[in-house]
């Protein structure tokens, strides 16, 4: 437990000292929010069920935060630590892989929640953010979806032979998801065909789950089920794929 706490604190500090990761996780979603807000504003619109553009964009951008952490930070950081022989040094100690991974996941969750909090504060200050849901439910769903994507991120890291491949693979997964899932471009404005195809993407289900809770429509059970499957399958595949060197 002692080493788990130390590992968590150290991982957190290391993240804060990494300017690029810091920017993408905490600043990039904020910039998107400001851009969207300045272009489209937050006037209530029928297409968004009486909510404004920003009201539906915030739960969407929550998925962007999840994606940058789980599909950009996790694969590269993990594969690089392996490649640079950092994990090799840790393995020559009594530290267990479970403690190491648990500490990392906790730090990634804290960062995701911090990014989300920044987004909500900024959207409230500048665009009068509306919210009709339950904060506890939204937070729980957000953490759950983050864990599911983090498992996928570890799977990518385990399968990729080098950190460079891990980076490219993460981007290849993340960027299409970012534009097709409703995370940045509202699903409501997409052509029917694209929207139906996009429904199969796990990030679309994340956006639908979070937006449903955000608008006070309760839990979107099919979306929840898909994320649960992603979490279980991702974790089951990622665990044996983990390599120390």
């Amino acid at each position: 437990m002692h080493s788990f706490l130390k590992l968590s604190v150290v991982q957190f500090k290391l993240f804060l000292r990494e300017p690029v990761a810091f920017f993408f996780t905490l600043v990039f979603p904020l910039l998107l929010l400001l851009l969207f807000g300045l272009v489209w504003g937050n006037e209530p619109a029928a297409i968004y069920g009486g909510f404004g553009y920003i009201d539906q964009a915030v739960p969407g951008l929550a998925a962007v935060i999840i994606g940058t952490i789980a599909l950009m930070s996790v694969p590269v950081a993990t594969a690089a630590a392996r490649e640079q022989k950092i994990l090799r040094r840790f393995r020559a100690t009594p530290m267990r892989a479970q403690s190491y991974l648990a500490a990392q996941v906790v730090v990634y969750l804290v960062l995701a929640l911090a990014g989300m909090a920044l987004l909500i504060v900024a959207a409230s200050l500048f665009f009068g953010l509306r919210f009709s849901g339950n904060w506890f439910a939204v937070t729980a769903a957000f953490v759950f979806c983050t864990m599911a994507f983090v498992a996928v991120g570890y799977l990518v890291a385990g399968l990729a032979p080098t950190s460079r491949v891990a980076q490219v693979a993460g981007q290849l997964i993340f960027f299409p998801l970012m534009f097709l899932s409703g995370a940045t471009i509202p699903l409501q404005v997409m052509p029917d065909g694209v929207r139906q195809a996009a429904a199969w993407l796990p990030m679309t289900q994340t956006v639908l789950l979070l937006q449903g809770l955000w608008f006070g429509q309760g839990w979107n059970l099919p979306a929840l089920a898909m994320m649960a499957v992603l979490l279980v399958v991702g974790a089951l595949l990622a665990a044996p794929a983990f390599r120390w060197e």
């Binding site: 080493s3 500090k13 640079q84 022989k85 090799r88 009594p94």
Partner: protein, 304 residues
Amino acid sequence: MQSVIEVSNLRKRYGSTLAVDDISLTVQPGEIFGILGPNGAGKSTLVETIVGLRQPDAGAVRVLGLDPQREHNRLVQRIGIQLQHAALPDRLAVWEALDLFASFYVRTTPWQPLLEAWGLAEKRNTLFANLSGGQKQRLFIALALVNDPEVVFLDELTTGLDPQARRATWDLVQRIRSQGKTVVLVTHFMDEAQFLCDRLAIIDAGRVIALDTPANLVRGLDGGSRVIFAANGATPLQALRALPGVSQVERSQGDVIVSGRGDTFVSDVVALLAASGSPFQNLRTEQADLEDVFMARTGRRLRD
């Protein structure tokens, strides 16, 4: 006394190469045991198998009475390892590394004195990426000592260091031993093994080709020694050749090289030169060394 390390008939194969080929050895408490050999001889594989980082294909290993595979967690609590290839996160500070590693162990020694002892006190807030090669090496040694281990494994610890830093590191290795710890030192430096090790195994192509104290290895070679001096003019070459124990006398670019063996060989040569009144300068002696031992057993030089 019970051995600290017992290795018997150990084998480890990588693809088609036998990295460790039927190696047996024991290491006694409190000694500095060397594993000397050229690059690629299988030294690191041997050590990594001994500490349980690699699984042997055949043979048995016991360290402190423990099985390094089945009892890995209990074993790593009691040993310290400095790996040849290892790193820390670039942006991790020196003190954070020690503080973190200390948290992995049940039994630890305070890390502030370790920083002092290894000359890192002024670097405590420096990030790993900003340390010099020697400082990184010393940090890894300090990390290997943070659990006050009974056995310390040092793999190529002076590679990449300048001569002055190497000598300083040798002193520190002797200090580790003086604290009652057993040290296993992996090196491809002949002088390092000769200077530091109480006993050493010379490894080539995955096999132990010699195992003894450095002095016994050289003595067993019966290589004798050489007396070399600069001479101008009348050196009594015939009289030198006639001395008992002298096997060869040759001239080489103004130097005279007298080869021979025996307890009085060197003093006989010097006495004869003094008695004959022939001028000589810059007289020195050369002993056979571990390089010659390796050469004699393999026909190759260690540093090739």
